[in-house]
Amino acid sequence: MSVAELKERHVATTETVNSLREQLRQRRLSLLDTDVAGYAKSQGRTPVRFGPTDLVCCRTLQGHTGKVYSLDWTPEKNRIVSASQDGRLIVWNALTSQKTHAIKLPCAWVMNCAFSPTGQSVACGGLDSVCSIFNLNSPTDRDGNLPVAKTLIGHRGYVSSCQYVPEEDTHLITSSGDQTCVLWDITTGLRTSVFGGEFQSGHTADVLSVSINGSNPRMFVSGSCDGTARLWDTRVASRAVRTFQGHKGDVNCVKFFPDGNRFGTGSDDGTCRLFDIRTGHQLQVYQQQHGDKDEPSVTSIAFSISGRLLFAAYGNGEFYVWDTLLAEVVLNLGSLQNSHEGRISCLGLSADGSALCTGSWDTNLKIWAFGGHRRVL
């Protein structure tokens, strides 16, 4: 078969795929008689209402000297790890707002960090294309720096996000600019499986985010610059379980819904979306109307523990709290008095859902929580 012939075939096949995809979309649309908000409204639900003290900034974690890019909570204790462009990971005690560790990284261009489920170690990755693991209990070296406990080498592009597999300190999933996600075995430092990549059906652009299903740690979802989110089964690396289309821009952030049957996405097209992993349907679009102006991209999202609230940070510094049921913005934290001065780059909810932490380009992290009914005077 000659090259020209092959090319012809390729073009034809691509066309077929596209038309099938379009058909699928049409079919989905026809099946989708309502969305969450419409149904909730028809049931007479009203949006959550926020009192003045329901969500207030109760702590500011100062200490970074560069933009904060990522943060993660420990599951049980209230500690936070944050990664910043000053080339440091800082481990915070969220209660006292003090630092417990400041880890200088060999490569300053760190993009993400994660706490291990037991809180013993932290992982981070960035432009150096490796994922570094630090054991918090290991002794520091002469200069007071924590040595790298393990380096996971294998990605051929920047490591855009990482997350530990719940309940397991030895497994980690990373996503990378090389269009793949990788499940790592930390003890050996080797790749257990690679999701996507050249020969497999995977993302066709940089993968920016992963989120592991909390109730079924074998499933995880990834969001990519190709505008799709894909659902993967860690046992089946060869192909994605499902591909979720709909976004018109890069998917910057994916996050599983607390019940594990849905997940949310945040995208450059300015929308957040909620997808159902069982049906593959898009359940709801969360979009603020900006007129004809450019939509600010969604940089990071998080769900409240009940799932009723969706916290979404935007590229223009806005920070909305959405009611997931009614798709209404119920609070704009960005406009509050002691909010961040820079763009909010990352957010995370503590494991018990009692506090929300935001990291911003203004170098600070802030913890938001319920303010209670204390008398003011």
């Binding site: 005690n93 261009w109 920047y158 209670g372």
Partner: protein
């Protein structure tokens, strides 16, 4: 008495009531939301404040409605609260009303005649809430007058601060004071008079007597503001400590509205002041001035004073109590803020100091320089903190306290030989092998020749490293000696003279000595060394007795500096941060960025590659060579096939001829190899195809090295090698390695620097690599004048990123916003080469480069960054351009090298008079890029030709980059035309 007081109060504070007028409207319950837009009018209102006459008429009607409905007010305030909750902004006015009603409610229950006092208090509060300077002054003026009853009152009066701690205790105390003691009231009315005076004669000379307190009170009032906001933020920290996180409900409670109130007040006096800590001081001051109409001088000299002004905490409550909760006494254990000296008890310290990013400072003091008297305590933890926090946390705090930049000794506080130091000089001083220990602010003298160091007007205290370029020249009276004996131009002290005499130095006749760092001395104007001062054992003893310094051993012994490095006072990290210049190297695939990166490593690093790296590089090179061999073998097969086909054709055409050729020799031709080599070749090709070459590799080299030798020497391979230009897969560098294949594939091969430069894929082809370096201080480096000594301190970081993923939508380019310069590499020899772009279509590589250049140059992150265009592979280009015309690339189709004739007549610059085609081509391309760049950004592009493989060439380019960075700093002093030689050269083509 009371009516009098109220009347006065009404008259004085009436000026503020322009606010209150607006409040009057709202009492009708639900209109309140409309108070929000009033916010906008804040500033005009502030201006009105100073106008006294207007206010007088307004004052009375304002007050009455408030009093009339105390109970109504309560509802009102509740509504306000609600309102505040639903709305994000509350106008300052509503705040006042809120506050007022709160106190009014309390009053109502207490006594009938408290109405008046409440009234006056409200008035005061009102004035306080507007943060007019006068009210604050009133407070300041009065509080010394009546200390006894003043505590509570002053608390009340201190404007915004009052909001938080106006708990009932204080209020009732104040009420009783007001009701029972007319003296207090009188005094308060006096204060009102004062304030009135101030108000009325704001601009007049009558203010002068207050100016002192005015200054202070200004600071304090602002501090109050800051304190309150800070406090609100951290209010519940402690509760959190005590109770569980899980039960956060009440615990996390913040005084939400009050925090808002305080910040609104802040906004009231100054819009900027919201959470920025440092700025507001100055700005607000001006604001106040304009309000009060204070003298112009104040605003003039204020900015200069500011850094020197010592921050003072606001003291409330009795002496010795915690500054936050006002509980405890002198004996309770407290932590002290290292900036403002505020003391906090154990239950408040975490709230007051927050996350302590710079050590033990109040939240509001973060960023301010520390109180120098506390420098000795830096990094020394108190028992209290140790008890409150765990070990790790304490360690982090202490580390931050010691090392953070704001806490470092400000260089201008140290004067050496009468000259305040600059940052670089201080760094030199602190990083020298033998630095002055525990350097404190002050005036010092330093004898550069001998290294003697002492406080000005005193005898030497230490001998530090000599020949440091810090401070001015030493003065003769530096140590205030009166002995007429001079040492290195300094008149020495009596003690020193005594020491010299005891050391046996002849001091008769008031000699002038030159003393070197080793103690050798000579008389001025003479050549021969007369002896060594510290040579004798006895001298050191004498010195010890007279408490004079002796040279430390480290001057002589060599190993010492290392340990000194560890103990030195300034940490590396913060120096690094200050002086690191980042240069980003980007370029399209194959533009030689990695070569430049490697070259920089080899040029500027003592150990360019570690053992490990070299081992890896060796393996890499060897596997590369196998790869090249594989390509050769593939080529050989192809050639063999072609050859055979050719032969068959020939044979078939000659079939008729009855020549009895042997059948065996049929298949033999120039490209055939023996069976053993054949099997090796097959194996190699197979592993290559399967992509396992690198996995099986190290073992393979052991096994196959002899085979490779045989293979390489085989005629067939050599024949193939001769036709290597037909093998597109074979990179141009391959021949460099293949010619030495046998040597390279030996086990004991050690790659040379040149090998490494040539090698492909040594720097990680993905991701990012960076190297820190500083330019060596070479003697030949005459570009830099001698005065630039601190230049050696500047460290550079060369960062190389791979082109892949650097597209328009690149998610991480914004991480490079602190880059000083981008070096964009272009391979000049690419103009006739093609590659497939993202869409798969074949495009000229130069055009792809241009596309990439456009996307990088226009990226918002690099909006203010200079670009240096590196036109790389100039050597290849020079050679190639003679063979293949530059017009091969459609972008360069208007290249007419004939212009050179014109050139030779008109120019006389650095290039020789008969430029080669290559040079002309280079300039042409440079101009193309310059035009493109300036059309895209309107800025100037710097260009430099580079031969990546030649160290000097890369060195020159990087030095050029350094110059650009320097120019950037001094841009204001240069006119653009002075910048670039290249631009003038290159502009020849611009007609």
């Amino acid at each position: 008495m009371p009516p009098e007081g109220t009347a006065v109060a009404g008259a004085t504070d009436g000026s503020q009531y322009s606010f209150a007028v607006e409040y009057n409207g709202p009492p009708v319950t639900y209109d309140i939301p409309r108070a929000v837009p009033i916010n906008v009018e804040k500033i005009p209102v502030a201006a009105v404040v100073s106008q006294v006459p207007l206010s007088e008429t307004l004052s009375l009607p304002v007050v009455q409605p408030v009093l009339a409905s105390a109970s109504l007010r309560k509802n009102f305030s509740k509504e306000l609260e609600l309102l505040g909750s639903s709305k994000t902004t509350v106008s300052p006015t509503s705040v006042i009303a809120f506050e007022r009603s709160g106190s009014g409610g309390d009053d109502g229950g207490d006594s009938g005649d408290s109405g008046d006092s409440a009234l006056s208090k409200e008035l005061e509060l009102g004035s306080g809430a507007t943060v007019s300077p006068t009210s604050v002054i009133a407070f300041e003026e009065r509080s010394p007058e009546n200390r006894d009853g003043g505590c509570a009152l002053s608390g009340e009066l201190s404007s915004s601060g009052a909001l938080e701690f106006s708990n009932t205790n204080f209020e009732s105390g104040e009420l009783s004071d007001l009701a029972n003691s007319s003296r207090v009231l009188g005094s308060s009315s006096i204060s009102h008079e004062h304030s009135q005076e101030l108000l009325v004669g704001a601009g007049s000379s009558s203010t002068i007597e207050f100016s002192d307190s005015f200054d202070k009170s200004r600071g304090r009032s602002l501090r109050t503001l800051r304190e309150t906001s800070g406090r609100n933020e951290s209010l519940d920290l402690n509760d959190l400590n005590q109770s569980d996180w899980a039960s956060t409900e009440s615990v996390l409670s913040l005084d939400y509205p009050s925090s808002r109130v305080s910040s609104i007040k802040a906004a009231d006096c100054n819009n900027v002041l919201i959470s920025d800590v440092r700025r507001p001081q100055v700005v607000t001051f001006r604001d106040i001035e304009s309000d009060g109409g204070a003298d112009e001088e104040f605003s003039m000299d204020e900015p200069e004073i500011r850094p020197a002004v010592k921050r003072e905490p606001q003291t409330k409550g009795k002496k010795g109590s915690c500054y936050r909760c006002f509980k405890g006494n002198r004996f309770t254990e407290k932590e002290v803020c290292i900036v403002c000296d505020a003391k906090y008890c154990s239950s408040c310290v975490l709230r007051a100091m927050g996350s302590m990013p710079e050590g033990r400072k109040c939240v509001t003091c973060i960023g301010f320089p520390i109180d120098e008297s506390k420098r000795g305590n830096l990094g020394k933890c108190s028992r209290m903190l140790k008890r409150l926090l765990n070990d790790l946390e304490v360690r982090q705090i202490m580390k931050a306290e010691k090392f953070c930049e704001a806490n470092q000794l400000p260089p201008e506080y140290v004067c050496v030989n009468g000259k305040p130091l600059c940052h670089e000089e201080l760094v030199i001083l602190q990083t020298c092998p033998n630095p002055p220990k525990k350097l404190k602010p002050g005036n010092y003298w330093y004898d550069k020749v001998s290294g003697l160091w002492g406080k000005e007007g005193q005898k030497p205290s230490k001998i530090i490293s000599p020949h440091l370029n810090v401070g001015g020249p030493i003065m003769a009276d530096a140590s205030n000696g009166n002995t007429q004996v001079y040492m290195n131009g300094r008149e020495i002290t009596r003690v020193e003279l005594r020491m010299l005499q005891l050391a046996g130095v002849q001091c008769a006749g008031n000699p002038h000595f030159w003393v070197n760092e080793d103690g050798s001395y000579q008389e001025e104007g003479q050549k021969n060394t007369k002896g060594y001062i510290w040579g004798k054992a006895g001298t050191k003893l004498v010195c010890a007795v007279l408490s004079l310094p002796v040279p430390s051993k480290s001057v002589n012994t060599y190993g010492e500096p290392l340990s000194n490095q560890l103990s030195r006072s300034v940490p590396d990290y913060y120096l690094e941060q200050r002086t690191l210049q980042k240069i980003l190297v980007v370029g399209y695939n194959g533009s030689g960025t990695s070569t430049i990166f490697k070259q920089a490593k080899i040029l500027y690093k003592d150990v360019p590659f570690s053992e490990d790296e070299r081992e890896n590089i060796k393996l890499r090179i060897q596997s590369n060579v196998y790869g090249y061999l594989g390509i050769l073998l593939e080529g050989r097969e192809r050639f063999e096939d072609e050859c055979l086909a050719e032969m068959r054709k020939q044979r078939s055409s000659c079939k008729t001829e009855p020549i009895g050729n042997s059948d065996d020799s049929d298949d033999k031709n120039l490209y055939s190899i023996g069976p053993r080599l054949k099997s090796f070749s097959d194996w190699l090709l197979k592993t290559m195809v399967s992509g396992n070459l690198e996995i099986i590799f190290p073992a393979a080299s052991r096994e196959y090295a002899p085979l490779v030798e045989e293979l390489w020497n085989d005629a067939a391979i050599q024949a193939t090698y001769k036709r290597r230009s037909e093998l597109e897969m074979l990179p141009s560098v391959a021949s460099y390695f293949l010619e030495r294949a046998v040597e390279i594939l030996r086990m004991d091969y050690e790659p040379s620097d040149l090998d490494i430069l040539y090698a492909e894929g040594v720097t990680a082809s993905n991701g990012l690599t960076c190297v820190d370096f500083s330019f060596p201080q070479a003697a030949s480096d005459d570009l830099i004048d001698a005065g630039d000594q601190h230049d050696s301190l500047t460290r550079y970081q060369l960062i190389r990123v791979h082109a892949r993923g650097l597209g328009e939508n690149c998610k991480w380019l914004e991480m490079f916003e602190d880059i000083g310069l981008v070096m964009f590499c272009v391979s000049l020899s690419d103009y006739d080469q093609y590659a497939s772009d993202a869409d798969g279509s074949i495009t000229n590589k130069m055009l792809l480069t241009r596309r990439f250049f456009e996307s990088i140059v226009t990226h918002p992150t690099f909006e203010h960054v200079d670009f240096l265009l590196i036109l790389n592979k100039f050597d290849l280009f020079e050679e190639k351009v003679e063979r293949i015309p530059l017009t091969q690339c459609e972008w360069f189709d208007d290249f007419h090298p004939l212009i050179s004739r014109h050139r030779s007549t008109s120019n006389s610059n650095s290039i020789n008079h008969n430029p080669t085609l290559g040079q002309i081509g280079f300039h042409y391309v440079a101009v193309k890029f310059k035009r493109l760049y300036s059309s895209l950004t309107g800025k100037k592009l710097f260009v430099s030709p580079v031969r990546g493989l030649e160290p000097n060439s890369v060195d020159a380019a990087l030095k050029y980059a350094r110059e650009i960075l320097k120019w950037d700093e001094e841009r204001g002093n240069f006119s653009l035309s002075e910048y670039s030689i290249y631009s003038t050269e290159a502009s020849f083509f611009s007609h």
